[in-house]
């Protein structure tokens, strides 16, 4: 008998590595179109592994065991459905599962399939986390700080959509439409952002960021890329380099101004810089070129005060042309403030505040408070910070704002 905790460790590891591709392999080899059936089968296989290995021993080659059992289950299912011996190349099936190139190929196919334009960007992200990154539903829920039920529902709906539209995980990779690449890029970008947010489980969130970086690397290596791939990869690396430095010794949130720049990951910054330099003069630019430029300027600056804020403010203005969003404008106001023009920052904010809901957004209030403070209006700044505190329920962000309030209070006294 194997120790249950050893079995759990091995099974968890195998799940993280193989869940999505086992589903993909079954869909492909068994000629199934229905993800849910394939998934149930893979789920059963993992359960069988847990049970069997706890009762006996963990096999010497656990992966081979898993693949064999999974394949047999698929064959049984097909026999039951057709009443005849299925025509499956079982040798190829098993060989595929162990081949490193096939693993990468499966992963990318699944990635492109999940980035389906018929589902929302959020649904794409969750499908990718489930079938490419192989997170369990409860882990996805923890990363988004949402209920498991909502995630389960969303996965169900997306699978149904795929079934209606005929899922294309069985197409060869090079046949994947090039026009889907922007959708894939956006989905990876959103996975990274979901991980980068302060809410949600910290360990899982760090994982999401690293997985997004790994997916970008896989895309670059696969040569299924376009002019957006490199700058996006650089952007994610620049941002990932600051991940650890965003939290202080007491677990508190640190903004860019208060981060210890020595704690940024310098190998990551160097790699990102090399990639960024190789694409920054591209003829065709993308929104990722601009975002990577902003991140680059932060990363090469020796201190917060010495940052080239004026150029960053200009870059936000260009970003606005691609994505005319009030959140981009809010970031621009911050850059304008630190470039030494608080009055101009204030006028941007005044314009933004005309949007009813924006005025109630906690980051708007925080930014407004910072601008007012710079203008010497400490009392009004304090009101803004207090307003922000009322409008946020995430604990790390509440603590961060609490600190701003304390600082402002000391100024007022």
């Amino acid at each position: 008998m194997a120790a249950p905790e050893d079995v759990t460790t091995v099974v968890d590891k195998l799940y993280r590595r193989h869940f999505g591709r086992l589903v993909a392999a079954i869909l492909r080899h068994a000629g199934l179109d229905d993800i849910e059936t394939a998934e149930d089968l893979v789920q059963e296989t993992f359960l069988a592994a847990c049970k069997n290995w706890t009762e006996h021993v963990i096999p010497e080659k656990p992966e081979a065991w898993l693949f064999r059992v999974c394949r047999n289950k698929a064959l049984n299912l097909m026999r039951a459905a057709n009443n005849e011996e299925p025509q499956v190349d079982t040798v190829q099936f098993a060989a595929d599962l162990l081949d490193e190139d096939a693993i990468k190929d499966d992963l990318l196919k699944m990635l492109f399939a999940c980035a389906s334009p018929v589902i929302s960007p959020r649904a794409q992200v969750i499908m990718i986390l489930k079938y490419v990154v192989n997170l369990r539903t409860e882990e996805i829920a923890a990363a988004f700080g949402s209920g498991q039920e909502a995630i389960t529902k969303l996965l169900q709906r997306s699978r149904l959509k795929f079934q209606e539209g005929g899922i294309n995980v069985r197409l060869p990779l090079m046949g994947q439409p090039q026009e889907r690449l922007p959708v894939v890029h956006k989905a990876i970008y959103l996975i990274f952002n979901a991980g980068y947010k302060a809410s949600g489980d910290r360990v899982i969130n760090a994982d999401l960021c690293l997985e997004a970086v790994a997916l970008m690397r896989a895309l670059l290596e696969s040569e299924v890329c376009n002019h957006e791939t490199k700058p996006l990869y650089a952007l994610l690396l620049f941002n990932a380099s600051r991940f650890e430095a965003r939290t202080g010794a007491g677990g508190e949130l640190l903004d860019l101004e208060n981060q210890d720049r020595l704690r940024w990951s310098h190998p990551m910054v160097s790699l990102a810089t090399a990639i960024f330099r190789s694409c920054r003069h591209d003829e065709m630019l993308s929104v990722y070129h601009i975002e990577a430029s902003i991140s680059y300027l932060h990363c090469i600056s020796p201190s917060f005060g010495e940052t080239d804020w004026r150029t960053i403010a200009g870059l936000y203005l260009r970003l606005k042309q691609y994505n005319p969003s009030p959140f981009v404008e809010l970031s621009r106001a911050t850059a304008v403030l630190f470039s030494g023009e608080p009055a101009l920052a204030m006028s941007i904010l005044n314009e933004l505040g005309k949007q009813h809901w924006m005025a109630k957004y906690y980051l708007f209030q925080v930014t407004r408070g910072k601008v007012l403070k710079r203008l010497g209006k400490n009392k009004e700044a304090l009101t803004c910070f207090r307003n922000a505190l009322l409008r946020i329920s995430s604990v790390p962000e509440q603590q961060y704002i609490g600190k701003l309030i304390l600082e402002a209070e000391l100024q007022v006294v």
Binding site: R122, R157, V183, Y322, H356, R391
Partner: protein, 113 residues
């Protein structure tokens, strides 16, 4: 990318009975969702509406309108871009208040002229 109007409908009487804290939580959820849409490049604009207004027909002007009486009055709108009606629908389904079941959303493609 095509443009879509999302008309948010809900029970206005229920909205009026909400406490300040519930209202605040509601706005925070919606703002996070809008931020998410914006990051994904789908958000164009949107606003909540007051719960009163006027209802005009050829014959009459009704003060307050029939809004309050219906369980499904328009309480706000969103303009978004999406890859098609399917994706626009899927985006509407991701609204936190749809998930909670407190609103319904009408998804209408904007006519391209």
């Amino acid at each position: 990318m095509e443009k879509f109007l999302l008309l948010i409908r809900e029970d206005l009487a229920r909205l009026e009975q909400m406490t300040e804290a519930e209202m605040q939580a509601d706005i925070e959820e919606m703002t996070r969702w809008v931020e998410e849409l914006s990051q994904a490049g789908n958000y164009l604009q949107g606003e909540p509406l007051m719960s009163y207004g006027r209802y005009v027909t050829a014959e009459t002007i009704l003060t307050d309108g029939p809004f309050i009486e219906t369980k499904e009055a328009i309480s706000g709108y969103l303009m978004i871009t999406a890859g098609g009606l399917d994706q626009a629908t899927s985006i509407a389904q991701s609204c936190p208040h749809i998930i909670k079941g407190t609103v319904s959303i009408e998804v209408r493609p904007v006519m391209q002229i």
